[in-house]
Symmetry: C2
Subunit: 331 residues, 2 copies
């Protein structure tokens, strides 16, 4: 059945039915279905707001993406932003533009993916808007909360701090590379389509006050490190030998790229957290990594601003890398 | 200069410069320019969230709309939703998809319009996202706050209540009709392009506890009254002779429509508030209307559900009207 057959109000009913199957958060006074949603603000906490836009043909290609994965990933991008400041995601609204010829089941699967992701992190879909459009467009605004004094910003890195990154880097970018070459499944494509936002990791790092600065590396490790350095007015050196490459990546990369490190350093798509901490916190970070079962790997140090950012081989020679992130208007 | 020349980060700088000229709200801890915005939640209040999507070719036509007016109107739709529950708008995020060939000055004017509107109601632009897109798309999520016990819903209308509407009805719809016929300016087009959301009126109605139910009538008086009746499980009768038509509308309408009342009852586009109140509050409503300088006109009564909704001539005969609102997927 297509959207033209059920109309806008039919579509809203389909979405409401998917959302109703999920638990509604405790803080939600009035959720989806009204012009305005109402949530309780937590006392003593500040409110976090982040928004992300995904367009067909720009951010994803429907030929390579199933709707459940797309729904999960649409919310993952926002969750990762909340994670990067150590916040707790609470509720989100979704605006959807969609071609009228779309199958109703496609939309259902899209929202099922979103709700699957949302339930993992206890957040609720509380409202949205829908419109016909020539291409699919998903705009999500996610709210979260945090104790103000615990929030980690991207601007707090200090000279002498160590630089850590969660999980592995490069797997998701390699997955995207495989998708572009027409491959359809496997470990890397799974990492690309269904990245895990590091929400719990971000919360614990913030709660324990371990990090001086934190950012997610969805634009690529070097590009996002660059954003952190700029905000913190410091420089950094990153050691290539210390990059946390997965065993799978080490084995597979040579089939795809003559340069083993390019995708890990600049490929983006990893929803991992990059953070800085004073050397004396290293033991606590190691302990937290063990407790959460998430690697947190020391990859470099913060240096003074004048040194800029350097990626170094073991012999101290510099690895040449483009620092520039993705520009939507100049591709 | 076009967006391709300044790139995504250039665009963000342009937007930041426009936003920086406006006052930043007291509650904003961290605004535009970061992945996550932070605002203080007001103690003892609940948080309101509403979101609206505007697409070129669906909701507006760039041939008829200048960017300042478009920016003002994009925010007005959200403000009107917050107004309808009696809330106070506080902060908003804007996601923008835009063709790369767009002139930078166009984007600047669009945000200037938004900020002009925002400043009228003391709310702050705190973040957003931008992407290239084939057509212009604006998605705004507006936050607000309210005392939970003061919020007015669409579901509280009781049999015997009187029905009021703010301002005039039909002017904006007549303006849209003129635009479609190629006219370019004048009173009605101004009402269509730059409607005033009734934020202060909604707040005062809520603060004084005057209304049992409230809704805005951007989908058309009869369609939105229908939403209120359905939520409240009651019926209504509306008296044609009591509709608040502007003097301009009464004079001009016959050049455009043989039926004088069609646009006023079903044309939509009016950002007025429709609310119900017990008869004993009528004097207070009259007083409030005088204080605010905004007409609040008694147009009918709530009756029992089985009677449905009737629009009546002075002699008691029924005026035939389509109750159906606009459907984005079945036009």
């Amino acid at each position: 059945m297509k959207l033209t057959e059920i109309g806008e109000f039919g579509l809203i009913k389909v979405i409401e039915a998917v959302v109703a199957q999920a638990d509604r958060g405790e803080g939600v006074v009035r959720g989806i279905g009204d012009d305005v949603a109402i949530i309780r603000s937590a006392s003593g906490k500040v409110l976090l707001v982040t928004t992300d836009l995904l367009l067909e043909g720009v951010h994803f290609n429907l030929a390579h993406t199933d709707p459940v994965a797309l729904g999960k990933k649409a919310l993952a991008a926002n969750l990762s932003d909340i994670a990067a400041c150590g916040g707790i995601p609470t509720a989100f609204v979704v605006s959807l533009a969609i071609p009228v010829e779309t199958e109703v089941d496609f939309v259902k699967a899209l929202y099922e993916g979103m709700m699957e992701q949302a339930m993992q992190f206890n957040c609720s879909l509380i409202g949205g808007d829908t419109s016909r459009g020539e291409k699919l467009m998903i705009s999500i605004t996610l709210l979260g909360e945090a104790k103000k004094e615990k929030i980690v910003y991207r601007h707090g890195a200090k000279e002498g701090d160590q630089i850590f990154v969660t999980g592995h880097v490069g797997d998701a970018a390699l997955g995207l590379e495989q998708v572009k070459r027409g491959e359809q499944e496997g470990y890397f494509i799974e990492q690309h389509l269904d990245p895990t936002p590091r929400v719990r990791e971000g919360q614990e790092i913030a709660r324990q006050g371990l990090a001086t600065a934190m950012i997610d590396i969805s634009d690529g490790l070097v590009a996002d490190l660059g954003h952190m350095l700029e905000a913190s007015r410091v420089g950094a050196q990153v050691h290539i030998s210390k990059l946390p490459l997965s065993e799978q990546y080490r084995k597979a990369i040579e089939q795809y790229q003559s340069d083993r490190y390019q995708l890990a350093l600049a490929g983006g798509e990893d929803y991992e957290l990059l953070f800085t901490a004073p050397a004396e916190r290293a033991q606590e970070i190691k302990k937290l990594a063990t407790e959460l079962g998430t690697p947190m790997t020391l990859i470099g140090e913060i240096v003074e601003a004048s040194q800029g950012v350097k990626v170094l081989w073991e012999d101290g020679k510099a690895y040449p890398i483009e620092q520039k992130g993705h520009d939507h208007f100049q591709t």
